[in-house]
Amino acid sequence: MDKLKLCHLYPDLLNLYGDRGNIISMQKRLEWRGISLELTEISVGNDFIADSYDIVFIGGGQDFEQEILLTDLSEEKKKNIRYAVKSGVVFLAICGGYQLLGTHYKNWNDIQYDFTGAIDIHTIGHKKRMIGDFTFKCSDSALAGLTVAGFENHSGKTYLGGAVKPLGEIIKGSGNNGEDQTAGARYKNVFCSYSHGPLLPKNPVLCDYILKTALIRKYGDYNLSVLNDSAEIAAGNYIIKKLK
């Protein structure tokens, strides 16, 4: 039986509304195809060993939890996260987790927090939050203009560096910063989004694309059998239609 190993990074700190839904979605869609998912939770005080995992998931958190996390994020842990990204491990990072992969976060009091620097993005805090349902069109050619529906709730404005591509282009909503129409980030096998609350359950094509990226990396060319996704697509379509 084929198997993927997933690391849930800081599950007790970065677990804002519904982040678990992304893991449930990946796990079930693998299981339904006879592929197993081994889940490891790495939090405060645990070592993160870069090449132990096929997929790393990082969710979003509140400021209070982010501060706890920063004290745990040693140079060693940062280095290992950078190495995992460089070596092509698949990452799905949401909200706070997305920001964490960047170089730094500067809050609205101008205090800078240094993050992992695994990808060239940074975030500037603002007082006004960007909240609500939103939609974007995926940029990866393999996804051929797929429309993704989600819910965003963030005060940080994230800006992408030169080597980092957006995950998609905003149709309705704010996205990375409410300025440049970019939504999320793509770099190597890293997928980032501000769609906190589960991104994957109602966007099954994106979920399969992420899973396939991990399976191909591990097993070479890989064929994922087709599932009936009508219920998932109906849930996503409700948002897409509402925002039209």
Partner: protein, 458 residues
């Protein structure tokens, strides 16, 4: 001065009357209208009345109802803001409707539940005799923001009312932290041991110390992050509550507890199921204690209590017993799921999810709730139906909890849904309806067109 109160009161009443004629249960507009004519209307109207103000994430309504029941048994005259109208406008309207035209109170006491975000404005105006903070859980981040923000709002409200007695949950590390920052008289409540008969979920909203950010250790936990917590780093810990429950057993539709009121023990049957309702009862007992109500009266009221609006009420639909239980966040829903899992009778389960402002526009919390546990007792479910604005999301949540998607019935039309419930349960299978806030109002409205049920503004 007096004349503007009279005008404001008249405006509030006329608009309430008009809304009732057109059949709307709207409870906030009249207060808004009244406030236009007298900005500090609430302050003036609450001046000569002893108020207990109830806030917190979960259990506000049930707690209010239990307090009212105890007051009734104690012979107090009181009014409540009954319809869940718990923002400043709705609360103002409640005071207006329960005062004379010139602004004098008709009752000695008022039992008022208050939204957590509105609390910092409402509390300084009312200056209540007693403030109850039931608990704090993550809830509607789109509306309330971070949990520490909610905590701070409550702190601001209490600080502006230093004579109030404050009732706090000793088992909740989040809201109990208020005890250290306020100078008010405090009455604590909590569970002295974990309840028997529960297999609780411990999905924690607060694994790390609110003071120093080190992880908590627990001597025992009751559910979610509640329990006998201790921080070995800074020493922050649960204090022994004056009002507590020991030796608790959760039964089908009730709970047996040894109720402790200032070291006096009373064996007590609480006519409500679920660990969360023991907390609600204890907070109500603590509030009653702040009014020096006799212990015997409190104990008698607890066993005769009939549940509050929508939180756990049973409606009769032509012989079909419809149990309606409001759900609005993972901690609350998990408690309801735990309760349902202990009930082996065959039933119909209806979940209704809306994403209006009052529900929280972000419905992703359903992915944190333990739907997998619903699957574990699916053999007791005759059918499972999803409805509401976001029924499709509920359907996939159930699908990913391994329900067969072809067996999940999706029906957004309430009229059809009601017909289905009633026709399908001709053999008198009970139905459990779990709506979010606005879904509960809408669904009740649809029900009231066909059945005689209590109007929601009563």
């Amino acid at each position: 001065m007096k004349i503007s109160i009279i005008i404001a009161n008249i405006v509030t009443r006329i608009s309430t009357f008009l809304l009732r004629i057109i059949g709307s249960g709207g409870t906030s507009l009249p207060g808004k209208a009244g406030m236009v004519f007298k900005r500090n209307l609430l302050q003036l109207l609450s001046n000569n009345i002893k108020v207990v103000l109830i806030t917190g994430t979960n259990g506000k309504t049930t707690t209010s109802r239990i307090i009212a029941e105890i007051m009734k048994k104690a012979g107090f005259t009181y009014f409540e803001n009954k319809s869940g109208a718990n923002l400043i406008s709705g609360i103002t309207a409640s005071f207006s409707l329960n005062s004379t035209l010139t602004g004098n109170p008709k009752y000695d006491y008022a039992v008022i539940e208050c939204d957590e975000a509105a609390f910092k404005t409402v509390c300084p105006m009312i200056k209540p005799h007693t403030i109850v903070v039931t608990n704090l859980f993550r809830d509607q981040l789109d509306r309330f923001g971070e949990i520490t923000h909610t905590l701070n709002n409550i702190f601001i409200g209490i600080k502006a009312s230093s004579d109030s007695v404050v009732v706090l949950n000793a088992d909740d590390s989040l809201s109990f932290s208020l005890a250290e920052t306020i100078s008010n008289k405090i009455i604590l409540f909590g569970l002295d041991s974990p309840p028997h008969g529960s297999d609780s979920d411990f999905l924690s909203d607060a694994p790390y110390c609110i003071r120093c950010k080190a992880p908590y250790t627990y001597e025992y936990r009751t559910y979610a992050h509640l329990g006998k917590f201790f921080c070995s780093n800074c020493g922050y810990h649960r204090h022994q509550p004056a009002i507590s429950a020991g030796n608790t057993t959760l039964l089908q539709n009730s709970s047996k507890i040894d109720l402790v009121i200032h070291s006096q023990v009373y064996s007590c049957l609480l006519a409500l199921p679920g660990a969360y309702n023991i907390y609600n009862a204890l907070s109500a007992v603590a509030a009653a204690d702040s009014f020096l109500i006799k212990h015997e009266v409190i104990v008698a009221a607890l066993s005769s209590f009939n549940s509050g609006f929508g939180r756990m009420e049973i409606l009769d639909l032509d012989g079909t017993a419809a149990h309606m239980i409001l759900v609005k966040n993972p901690a609350g829903l998990n408690q309801v799921i735990n309760f349902l899992s202990t009930d082996s009778t065959r039933k119909l389960l209806v979940l209704i999810l809306n994403d209006n402002y009052a529900d929280g526009t972000d419905i992703s919390w359903i992915w944190d709730a333990n739907f997998e546990k619903i699957k574990s007792f699916s053999d007791t479910l005759d059918k499972i139906i999803v409805s509401g604005i976001r029924a499709e999301e509920l359907k996939i949540r159930l699908k990913y909890a391994e329900f067969d998607e072809n067996e999940i019935i999706l029906e957004k039309n309430y009229k059809k849904l009601i017909n289905f419930i009633v026709s399908d349960t001709a053999d008198s299978i009970p139905v459990y309806i779990l709506p979010t806030y606005t879904a509960m109002f809408d669904f009740r409205k649809a029900l009231s067109k066909k059945y005689k049920i209590r109007k929601f503004w009563k």
